[in-house]
Symmetry: C2
Subunit: 356 residues, 2 copies
């Protein structure tokens, strides 16, 4: 390392502000994101001039932990028993105090889905935008229950409200449509819930419903409470999010005809597969004269159709637009980092457009 | 229309500069683009604050037509015989004089592919960037033969050099990867040439090679001289463009193992299809320790594989990345506007990032 290089690095480093990142909900997604950010730190700095530090972590278990000088996360124990290991950091009283204490520039919101009203995530996101931070969420609830309000608030504050990880694990679906100016989306269909797709695939292979669900839990796609998946809620919320954002039609969940896979017997699933018409939990939306007609439910799909090939944890979506009559995206065997990556990509999008 | 509204429109109109657009090569793609721009003019103005006029049109047949006040294209006859109908507009002597006379802000370059060296398109694009215009091309030659030079020149001039329409008719492939920060592309495979795909599909249906080629011409996918398609040149140039831009590895065409479909007999094509392993002209690229290994050639594809389902004018690409092990995009039955649309989308990208 020559002195000249060192000086260049030093002076460049002074020009790049260090962004304060806060993580709300500290389960798999946000923990993986912290790892991924660390893994990509050099690339973020060199290619996108992004420097960051983690100044806030919050969860029901940990409380509102904040330190504006940066929390040292290396080797930390995040279990409840280890809460006192955070004594060095301040514990705020609520979300506002936390964002303020952490001097948050970006909030990564990854708490769990509340199907009924999207709370408390909606309130947390609103607080972060009011505080003046970008908000990046992996939580579908706020999109379905408060998209327009939060989008408009973000625009008003000159901040970004991004949510690429809410559908298809961070595959750039919403960003794709940002790249399609003046295009008109007429409808879509696809397979968007991994848990039910794994269960159907495993039932085809001979497992009972219960054993197939156990398998889905073992490979990490199903939560302990898989009701939201099995009864089609997760797929319906994703369908509603796509309709709300990409078709610009607000839709309530009770306007989506919804049926899960609970009533499918292993016998029916295996017979359908053998006959060349395997069952899939299919999401559908179609623009009509008055709005959008949408549904989520099990369908027999002809085995030569692309949807029939989507097995296990893979997912698929087919868009009908005025320019591209059929534009389909398939995600095969998503890796561990896929959902967290969607949030990292949103982070770069938010900060890049700050700088131009 | 109330006076208040009128005043608002008027003052807004004054704030939006009118962009001067120039079209080089005036065949199907650029003519369709002119129509599409007209069709979307209101949306471009309202949603993206883009106003434009056409100030230059050039082709071997028409010469270098320019008028900085805007050419009136309505009801124009673009045939050679009608050249004198352009008497009202100035005819420039060469590309530089033309860009200058037309006061070009954006060049849409859509001349035909020169496989050997990408000329004269490379010189034309260089001239336009030097002049200070954004350049949007549907021509693959300059990407393969001069990508880095033109990219760097554009950056130096603070202009955009965009080329979404060179691969998959304007489906956002290059833009997609712009949305995937710090991702590492390890390889890809796909079906990227429509003419050969139509010919293979039609041979499977019983046509001879010649009749299948005739059909491809009738539906408008094959040029009069289809040699570039049939011998795999078009697919190889697309493969090289993707490797050069997305894998950041410059590759010469002679480094891509290339075989066309000329030697496939109808008998072989039909037998393969009947046996469940239809022939496809497959493009492949894979990162190696020292660079990228790439090929274009006919392959028998197992009929249950996604590529086997890609028939007729449809196309397909499967990307292997570190985050998404398999991310595939399928374009089914592209519409008439698909290629021109890619240029319109590039136009919005170039001008939007001007304004932020």
């Amino acid at each position: 390392l020559k002195l000249g290089n060192f000086e260049t690095c030093f002076s460049e480093a002074q020009l790049i502000p260090t962004l304060n990142l806060c993580f709300l909900g500290f389960g798999n997604v946000n923990r993986t994101l912290v790892q991924l950010l660390e893994n990509r730190a050099a690339e973020l700095r060199e290619r996108y001039s992004i420097e960051y530090r983690v100044t806030g972590i919050a969860s029901r278990r940990l409380g509102w932990i904040a330190d504006p000088n940066g929390l040292d996360l290396k080797g930390r124990d995040f279990s409840r028993a280890a809460q006192d290991s955070w004594q060095d950091a301040a514990l705020a009283a609520d979300v506002k105090g936390w964002l303020s204490a952490a001097r948050a520039d970006v909030l990564f919101e990854a708490t769990s889905l509340n199907v009924e009203n999207g709370q408390p995530a909606v309130d947390h996101i609103r607080a972060a935008l009011e505080h003046g931070a970008h908000v990046i969420t992996a939580n579908k609830g706020p999109i379905v229950h408060a998209y327009r309000e939060l989008r408009d608030l973000a625009a008003h504050k000159g901040k970004h409200f991004l949510f690429e990880s809410t559908v298809m694990d961070g595959v750039p679906i919403f960003s794709l449509f940002d790249q399609l100016p003046t295009i008109h989306l007429q409808g879509f269909h696809g397979i968007l819930n991994s848990t039910t797709n794994v269960i159907l695939s495993e039932m085809e292979n001979g497992l009972t419903f219960e054993d197939a669900l156990k398998k889905a839990r073992e490979i990490g796609v199903a939560e302990t409470d898989a009701t939201h998946d099995i009864d089609g809620w997760d797929a319906a919320v994703k369908t509603a999010a796509l309709i709300t954002v990409l078709m610009d039609v607000p839709i309530r969940l009770d306007q989506i005809a919804r049926e899960g896979i609970r009533d499918l017997t292993p016998q029916a699933v295996r017979t359908a597969k053998r006959d060349g018409w395997p069952f899939k939990l299919v999401c559908r939306a179609k623009r009509t004269a008055t709005g959008v007609k949408a549904s989520v439910g099990p369908e027999k799909v002809l085995s030569t159709q692309p949807m029939a090939k989507v097995t296990g944890t893979s997912s698929y979506i087919y868009f009908e637009t005025d320019i591209f009559p059929g534009l389909a995206i398939t995600e095969e065997n998503p890796g561990l980092y896929a959902t967290a990556y969607g949030m990292l990509a949103d982070f770069v999008r938010a900060t890049k457009s700050d700088m131009t």
